[in-house]
Homo-oligomer: 390 residues x 2
């Protein structure tokens, strides 16, 4: 059964070994003036920075470097928007992971707006135009390269916003799996955990269609199988290519066209954890996942666990629903642990005495307790999940 | 393992019950002058014709009706292009199944070309512009609503062409499963067989990725399960909605991003059958499928059968590869038969004495015997498949 939906993802994916050679042709479609955005030095270390300059010989390149993880409105977005205006930027070229790309997306609309950019990001004003974005993604994780969202922090007012707008779809995304060969074991595990969680947030909803269920289970199977291969052999092209492609499907809705909307409760919880303790997003999600599953188990949700148990974990049909569910929850716990993620929040520096405050923060900022949700979480439920995750 | 690929499908899907109410808003984005294209009287019988006129009150509507199955360059495309030019058409609204939409796609480029339109369709000249297309699809089958292809016949020169161009993506496709409630059992079965074959043409290729395999198996499972429900209860919304959505994925490449290209050999064979005996496309494909499978079975292809056997048909892992393959082939035969398709070409009027001529025709027009193909078919192989299908 499919609910009504509208779906459109205009981004062009250019995927494969050495596809960056197409960069000049794609950039030239938009103009000569390029804002190159990137983070720290990793793209220089891997030679990508030099490669981009060699390919874009003849273009006018302005640079914005030093974009931080959890990108900030002030200074990064503000400076980027200013650089776009001053240099008549035709196209933003984002080189890096999801944070650089998210920051570039925010810059793209702020550059075309004369007022305070935060009014766009916070939803007060609807953006009317954006500078086109081309990206070269170097981390398989967030799916920002194929979606219309970004997450931006405004530290001056202690705010962190997920901002969605159709203008934010990248025009072109270059996905070369070889750029992820140098990603550390920790980032590989956490990036995959993030993508797995994107799928689960959409899987635990109703109604569901047979078709989408199969797609999501296939995504989970591919992620869980290939991350183990990539952790063992970081240069395994096949594994890295599957991880990169599947991650790109995480957040543009294609996995769940026609499905109900769950509200993405695990992301709500994790955003509080990151805000309070600056932990790695994917690690936080991995730790919460099995505890959240245990919390939401009910007559209504058990079918989801059984579907996962039989089709993802290959469990015997003769097991009881309870046994199947337990094995699914244990299965995810064991899987994340095997990828090297410590499965207790305390190990990441989270303090138990902040749990109640975080629960209040979640309910205030992300409303996990709406009646339309598949499995609403009240304050007690949030506290139970967080305590069990310690 | 994923091969290199480029993927972009800009079409906006608007899916669900009563979504047609959005029609005026979507049409207005392109202008006031609309060419309404449709086939016979079925859209009048179901009330859709009147509904469109009611919704498009205030627009200037020009009509092209009577578009035939296997749409013809002369007269339909020629007349449609002329109507576009004479009436300054801003947008083509295609209402009907894949044939009406395919014809509309051909019209859309010919309307923007001053020379002989067939030069575009036959690939002699590259189209530079097209009139935008909005469609309301009334049959779950070809996937034309979400792809950049059309198939057009030129009877004057006995030619039938598959024409691909990025300009042919519909701008907006309206998919309301309720419009398929009145589709006959025969068309429901044949439309689903067409979609199943689209998946199989992409599944039997190499390399394959774990992710794509799972998507394709999910598509097959959904089609095979839901067509049986729809045949029993034509008004089952859940089944009709899955069929409609899955069919739309058939031909835009998303099912097989990064996979090898098989050459679509069953379609090559069926196009000859249609050309010689004007049989229903989906029925022809259903009849050929198990015979083609038997023909291509080899050390190289057996893994594909085993993957289908274990994951689609749920066969025991302890069966030998040979037993599994046999059960897969028998399974497809029995499935198509159960949906009411006669499983012998003779029953559709195909004559055995034309088989050799058709084999020559296939090799001349569609080249099924290229060394890069997953399972090349020479003349003897084509004859064996056709004879076994009689």
């Amino acid at each position: 059964m499919l609910n009504d939906f509208t779906y459109q993802t205009p981004t062009k994916l250019i995927f494969g070994k050495g596809v960056i050679k197409e960069l000049p042709k794609e950039i030239a479609k938009f103009g000569k003036n390029v804002l190159l955005t990137y983070g720290g030095g990793s793209i220089k270390k891997m030679g990508l920075y030099d490669e981009v300059y060699k390919l874009l010989d003849g273009f006018n390149i302005t640079e914005l470097s030093g974009i931080e993880p959890n990108p900030k409105y002030d200074p990064s977005v503000i400076i980027g928007a200013k650089l776009c205006k001053e240099n008549n930027i035709d196209v933003i070229l984002s080189v890096g992971g999801g944070s650089v790309l998210d920051c570039s997306k925010a810059i793209s609309v702020c550059a075309k707006y004369d007022g305070e950019g935060w009014d766009l990001i916070s939803g007060k004003v609807k953006a009317k135009a954006a500078v086109p974005i081309v990206d070269i993604i170097t981390l398989a994780a967030t799916g920002s390269e194929y979606d219309m969202g970004c997450v931006i922090s405004n530290t001056a007012i202690s705010d962190k916003r997920g901002y969605l707008d159709e203008l934010l779809y990248p025009a072109v995304s270059f996905l070369d799996p070889e750029y992820t060969f140098s990603v550390s074991k920790w980032q590989t595990a956490c990036g995959t955990a993030d993508a797995i969680n994107h799928v689960l947030e959409q899987f635990f909803a109703a109604p569901n269609s047979m078709f989408n269920d199969g797609i999501m289970i296939s995504a989970l199977r591919s992620l869980m199988t290939n991350v183990k291969i990539a952790l063992k052999d970081p240069n395994d092209y096949s594994a890295r290519s599957e991880l990169m492609y599947v991650c790109s499907w995480g957040c543009n809705g294609i996995l769940a066209n026609g499905a109900g909307y769950s509200g993405w409760p695990m992301h709500s919880i994790e955003h509080a954890l990151s805000a309070y303790f600056d932990i790695t997003h994917g690690a936080g999600l991995a730790i919460i996942t099995p505890r959240w599953m245990k919390e939401i188990l009910s007559e209504k949700t058990v079918e989801r666990f059984v579907t996962l148990g039989r089709n993802l974990f290959g469990l015997d049909k003769n097991l009881s629903d309870f046994e199947t569910t337990q094995k699914v929850i244990d299965g995810f716990y064991a899987f994340f642990e095997e990828t090297g993620i410590p499965m207790h929040l305390a190990e990441l520096g989270v303090k138990e005495d902040k749990i109640e405050e975080m629960a209040d923060h979640i309910l205030e900022n992300d409303s996990t307790n709406e009646p339309w949700m598949f499995a609403p979480l009240d304050k007690d439920a949030l506290i139970r999940i967080l305590k069990a995750s310690m």
